[in-house]
Symmetry: C2
Subunit: 108 residues, 2 copies
């Protein structure tokens, strides 16, 4: 992962509202959640949530697909795994031996 992508991902998550949204999507698992359901659950206006999701999708942390009238959003677990690996490799002490532990057994 390049530094620009890492910074974009960190910025996207560095907003309490978006972090709440992302965490809710993580709990929803790969099946994801429709935008409307998500809006009700996290207590955001539909347009506000749409803006937050746009940032998360643009950063690569979330994917979307249309399902009938709904648009279903899901956490991109592989992207988060890559981000965590970046932090471990670049932002930790003596981290050379760790990534395999995280990436291999971790998430995705």
């Amino acid at each position: 992962m390049e530094i620009k992508s890492a910074a974009a991902s960190l910025t996207a998550l560095g907003h309490e509202g978006r972090l709440v949204v992302y965490r809710r999507l993580v709990r929803a698992g790969p099946a994801g959640l429709a935008a409307g359901v998500l809006a009700r659950e996290v207590g955001l206006a539909p347009n506000t949530l749409s803006a937050s999701l746009k940032v998360l999708v643009h950063a690569g942390l979330v994917t979307s697909r249309r399902d009938g009238r709904s648009v279903v959003y899901a956490a991109a677990f592989d992207h988060m795994a890559t981000l965590i690996a970046y932090l471990v490799e670049n932002c930790c002490l003596e981290a050379i031996a760790l990534p395999s532990c995280i990436v291999a057994e971790g998430m995705s």
Copy 2:
């Protein structure tokens, strides 16, 4: 780690300039680096760097101590370990079994 602290840390790192600064401090290890040296190495004006360091310190990611005429900054490795643990616990799939691997062997 609380969500507010996590968001603040992610925001602090979600800025390419600050991420570069933080990575340089990580490479410097626990001994840290003086502000002036850091400014020269990352190519930032002293006052600009000072502002970036202020954000990182406020987020808890970096510590500072005065050493003579210099102020030495160092990465707070334990804080980063906590942040990574937060991401693994809250933002990953089936992460229940993982944190010990990271926190125990990881960094700090």
